[in-house]
Structure formats: structure tokens, C-alpha cells
């Protein structure tokens, strides 16, 4: 049962990712990415990392992707604007070779991980340990990142406003 669920969600995630790359229409691609992220969230849920599952949906599928789609809808690109010149044979071959090499390398790296390391504590990904990590062990990085985000927000407002 669990294995079937895993394969269903994993293949949905991969299919979404593939669709995201191959769709010509940017909005269709964005929706495919939402599907991929949602399926990925269910993989977290299957690990009983319920808080991470919720955050994945809330932040990525529910907030970031909505903003991306919002932007795409505002741009409203027509198919004519998206026509790209075809890739040459040499370029295409190089890209393909790069992908294959990357995949092989990734599998090799995965093989080096000894078995048993992947086991996590039973409260992995729950709200208490995540909170303790974020506001305990990594308090300073967390605060620095929030300052960074604040700077970005102020910068956006500054750029977008005509009169300050």
C-alpha cells in the first residue's frame, strides 16, 4: 500500500517536472510545477513529516507559485512572443550529453551513501523540532535571512514606486 502510494506520488512529481520543462505555454508549465510540488509534499507526508508537508504546500504550492502565476498572467505572453530559434545539432547533442553525464554522476554520488543513514527520528519534520532548529540552533542565520528578505521588500517598493 505504502509502496504504491510512494510510486504514484513520485511519478506524479516527476511527470509534473517534465511537463513543466516541455510545455510551451508558460502558464501550463507553471501549473505543472504546482502539480510536481504538490506530489512532493505528499512524499513528505508519507515520511510523517506533517509540518514539512504543510509548509511545502502552504509556501511553495500556495504562495510562491501563486505569485509566479500571477506575474505570468499579467505578462500574458502570446505564443508568437515565445517562438525560439531552433537549437543546432551540435548544441542539442552537447545539452543531451551534459544531462546524461549529470544523471550518471548523481546516481554515483547516491551510491556512496551507506545504507541506514536515511533513517530519521520519529518526530522528524514535526512542528516542535523544526521550530527548535529554526529558533534555536539556527537563530542567527534565520534572523539574517529575514533581514535579507526585508531589504528585498523595501527594494521592490523603492523600484516600483514612482514618487517616494
Amino acid at each position: 500500500m505504502e509502496v504504491f502510494a510512494f510510486y504514484a506520488f513520485a511519478s506524479a512529481s516527476v511527470a509534473g517536472a517534465l511537463l513543466m520543462v516541455t510545455r510551451r505555454n508558460p502558464l501550463a508549465g507553471a501549473f505543472a510545477l504546482v502539480l510536481s510540488l504538490g506530489a512532493l509534499a505528499f512524499l513528505f507526508a508519507m515520511l510523517h513529516a506533517e509540518f514539512v508537508f504543510i509548509l511545502q504546500i502552504l509556501l511553495y504550492a500556495g504562495a510562491i507559485m501563486v505569485l509566479i502565476i500571477f506575474t505570468l498572467m499579467l505578462l500574458n505572453l502570446t505564443p508568437e512572443e515565445l517562438k525560439e530559434p531552433p537549437i543546432g545539432a551540435l548544441k542539442g547533442f552537447l545539452i543531451l550529453a551534459f544531462c546524461v553525464a549529470g544523471f550518471v554522476g548523481f546516481v554515483r554520488v547516491l551510491r556512496t551513501i551507506p545504507e541506514g543513514v536515511a533513517e530519521v527520528s520519529p518526530d522528524f519534520g514535526n512542528i516542535e523540532p523544526v521550530g527548535r532548529l529554526m529558533l534555536g540552533n539556527y537563530l542567527y542565520p534565520f534572523e539574517v535571512i529575514s533581514v535579507l528578505l526585508l531589504v528585498a521588500v523595501v527594494g521592490v517598493v523603492l523600484l516600483a514606486k514612482k514618487v517616494i
Binding site: 502552504l58 500571477f70 498572467m73
Partner: protein
């Protein structure tokens, strides 16, 4: 096996709870708006003369919408256009999974929480799945391939994304007071008393948070005064301009289920959820015979009043229609049903008189009383949503954005700050 069956039963219960609230909400909306505008409201559709004060209109509507032709304009993006109406509806139904409707049903070795899923993230799950609700609107607006629809979709998205922030921030105060994100624990925390007499409901410890959450919930459900997703004078019907038939109805059903969800959340977080004020679960369990008797007596009084009303109705309306019209009989039919209910209640009162309840019986009585309480609170907030819609004028789009970003968000930060300060002071005094 038993675990799966219990889980299935609980899922079915909350699913039906949400789906039954849907026609109830529509009925409340129609009759409520009629009441507020001093009209009669729908009262014509009848089955064999029974009109149920307009309730039959709902059945007529659903039958009409299901059998109506579904027009798909030629210029739409067909696949996305077809799936968009289902998204909002589905995700909001998901969110009901974490709402508790009673205290645990416990007897023998069983201790069954009356909540489908007690996720570790608790209420954040509701925020997560309702944030996916936006996709239904975005997809509908974009796939319709029409400027009005696109604008409506954009407006609704911007509004929902903006108001998710005060919604989430106002919840932080509740988390701080009750030290938990689990809805069942938040409700249990609200069973205590404040200063010895006031129930420790969210609305009393987080009054500002309640109003913030309420305002944000109104915006999230796209209800008046925040219903800019559509606007007849500006963008026609917004994102569902191109829809017809049952898919059009699905958007509205989604809206009414969202109201039911928001009402259930308001009741759970700020009005004690399934807690009956001043009556704890233990009190209910230990005095289950008395509790059942009170409930049955209320039912008896209710059906008696119903019987009297129906007799009066019969007297008033008899002869309004020509002889042979079945509508002449309506008062008698409904009066008969009320009479049967009255007899059933009295029979139950006699039957349970002096019975000693087993443990499971005590627990069941407690659960029944709490479910009734929870349903009443939820219905009250459903009515508040309708009340506000027909009372307040709507905001202009830029006013909504200004209210959300410049007023509600700073106030919710203030709310968190003050809550933290008070908790700190109370702790330092106590320790």
C-alpha cells in the same frame, strides 16, 4: 480493520456535515436576504403541495443546474476551463479534515478523537489547503480567455494572497494563548474559566484577533464586503463569466462550503468549538441521564412549538387555493410530522427515564450534546456571513488592498506583540 472503519465513518460524518451546510447556507442566504430587504423570498416551488417555506426551491435549482446545457465557448482553453470549477470545491472540503466536532468518544479501551486527522501542523493544514483554493479562480479566469474573466481572476488572487497574511498572523495570537496549533487542544483550552466565571473563549482572550481573523476570513471567502472577484458594473461576473450549468454552480457551491469552513473555524478558534459554556465533558458524562433528558425536553418543546405553528399556518392558509390544490394540505402534512416528532421525543423521554447508562452510553451522550453545540455555533457564524453581506456596502478594489496591507497587517503585528507582552507579564507574576 476497526480503525479503518472508524476513520471512514468520521470522514463520512464531516463530509456530510459540510455538504449539508451547503444547502442550508443557500437557504439562509435567500431567506435572510429577503428578511433584511423586507421581502418574502422564494416560496413557490412545491413537491405534492409541500413547500417547506422555500426549501424545495433548492432541489428545483439543483435539478435545473444539473440538467442545464453546459456551454463551452470556442475561445477557451478547454482542459483548464473544465477542471477549474472542481479545484476550489475539492480543496475546501479537504480542510474540514482537521476540524474537531466533539470531545473524544471513550469507553473501555477505546479513545476515539472526534476529528478525522490530528495532523502535527494542526490548523496550518487548513491554511495550506485553502491557499490552493486560489488556483480554481486563477485557472477559471485565465482559461476563459476573456478580459473580464482575467481581471476578475487577478483581482481575486491578489485579494486572497494579501488577506492570507493577516489571517495567518491573527492565528499566531491564538497559538500563543493556548500554546498549541492542534485544534482539539485549542478547544480544550477554551473549556477553562477566566476569572472564575467567564469561559476562556478565544474571543475573550483575543478580541482583536477575532476581528482580524473575521475580516480576513470574509476576504478569503470572497464575500461581501470584499467580493471584488465579480462586479456586474465593472467586470461582469469576473472569473466565472464564461461558465454555465453545473460548473457555474460549482463556483457558488465552493463559496458556500468556504463559508461553512470559515464559520466552523471561527466557532472552533474563538467561540469554544464543541465546548458547552460552563459544562465540561466530565460533567456531561457523569450526568448523562440529565443531559439526555434536557436535550429531549428541548426537542419536545421544539416539536410542540412546531406543531402549534403548523396548526396556525393551516388555519390561516386553508382555502387560499381552490379546492383540490395540494398546497391546502401543507399545514396538515407538516403538522403531522411535527406531531410524530413530539410523540417520538416523549417516548424517548419515557424510555430513558431511570435508565442507568453504560460507559459508552455516557460518552455518546456527551458527544451528541457537543456536536449539537458545535453545529449551533457554526450555523450562527454562517448566518453572520449572510447578515454582513446584506448589510454592508462593498469596498472598492484599491480600498480592499489598502485595508489589507496598511491596516490589518500592522494591527495583527500589534496584536501579537501585545499578546506576547501580556503572557510575559502573567508568567513573571505567576513564577
Amino acid at each position: 480493520m476497526a480503525v479503518y472503519l472508524i476513520g471512514l465513518g468520521k470522514a463520512l460524518f464531516i463530509f456530510l456535515f459540510a455538504l449539508i451546510l451547503l444547502p442550508v447556507n443557500i437557504y439562509l442566504e435567500r431567506k435572510g436576504s429577503a428578511f433584511i430587504q423586507d421581502r418574502v423570498g422564494p416560496n413557490r416551488a412545491a413537491i405534492l403541495g409541500v413547500r417547506l417555506a422555500g426549501f424545495i426551491h433548492l432541489i428545483a435549482d439543483v435539478v435545473k443546474l444539473i440538467f442545464k446545457e453546459m456551454m463551452v465557448p470556442g475561445h477557451v482553453n478547454r482542459w483548464y476551463f473544465m477542471i477549474a470549477p472542481f479545484i476550489g470545491f475539492t480543496f475546501i472540503l479537504f480542510a474540514f479534515a482537521v476540524i474537531p466536532w466533539a470531545d473524544n468518544l471513550s469507553f473501555g479501551s477505546w479513545n476515539i478523537p472526534m476529528q478525522v486527522a490530528d495532523l502535527n501542523g494542526g490548523i496550518l493544514f487548513i491554511l495550506a489547503v485553502t491557499s490552493l483554493n486560489v488556483y480554481g479562480i486563477v485557472l477559471a479566469g485565465w482559461a476563459s480567455n476573456n478580459k473580464f474573466s482575467l481581471l476578475g481572476g487577478l483581482r481575486a488572487t491578489a485579494q486572497m494572497v494579501s488577506y492570507e497574511i493577516p489571517l495567518g498572523l491573527s492565528l499566531v495570537g491564538v497559538f500563543m494563548v493556548f500554546q498549541s496549533v492542534h485544534l482539539n487542544e485549542i478547544v480544550r483550552g477554551q473549556g477553562e474559566l477566566l476569572f472564575g466565571f467567564l469561559p476562556k473563549w478565544g474571543v475573550f482572550v483575543q478580541p482583536l484577533g477575532f476581528f482580524l481573523f473575521g475580516a480576513a476570513a470574509f476576504a478569503e471567502t470572497n464575500r461581501n464586503p470584499f467580493d471584488v472577484a465579480e462586479g456586474e458594473s465593472e467586470i461582469v461576473a469576473g472569473y466565472h463569466t464564461e461558465y454555465s450549468g453545473i460548473r457555474f454552480a460549482l463556483f457558488y457551491m465552493g463559496e458556500y462550503v468556504a463559508i461553512a469552513l470559515a464559520a466552523a473555524m471561527l466557532a472552533t478558534l474563538y467561540f469554544g468549538g464543541w465546548q458547552i459554556p460552563w459544562v465540561t465533558t466530565d460533567m456531561l458524562r457523569n450526568n448523562s441521564e440529565l443531559a439526555l433528558k434536557i436535550m429531549l425536553s428541548l426537542g419536545t418543546v421544539g416539536s410542540f412549538v412546531g406543531l402549534l405553528t403548523m396548526l396556525g399556518f393551516d388555519k390561516k392558509m386553508r382555502g387560499t387555493w381552490p379546492a383540490g390544490d395540494l398546497r391546502n394540505q401543507e399545514g396538515r402534512i407538516l403538522g403531522g410530522i411535527a406531531f410524530l416528532l413530539l410523540v417520538a421525543h416523549i417516548a424517548a423521554l419515557v424510555f430513558f427515564n431511570g435508565k442507568v447508562f453504560p460507559e459508552w452510553g455516557q460518552s455518546t451522550v456527551a458527544v451528541l450534546a457537543q456536536v449539537a453545540m458545535f453545529t449551533m455555533k457554526t450555523l450562527f457564524f454562517c448566518w453572520v456571513f449572510i447578515w454582513v453581506r446584506w448589510t454592508l456596502p462593498r469596498f472598492r478594489y484599491d480600498q480592499i488592498m489598502r485595508l489589507g496591507w496598511k491596516n490589518l497587517i500592522p494591527i495583527s503585528f500589534l496584536n501579537i506583540f501585545v499578546t506576547g507582552l501580556v503572557i510575559l507579564l502573567l508568567d513573571s507574576r505567576g513564577g
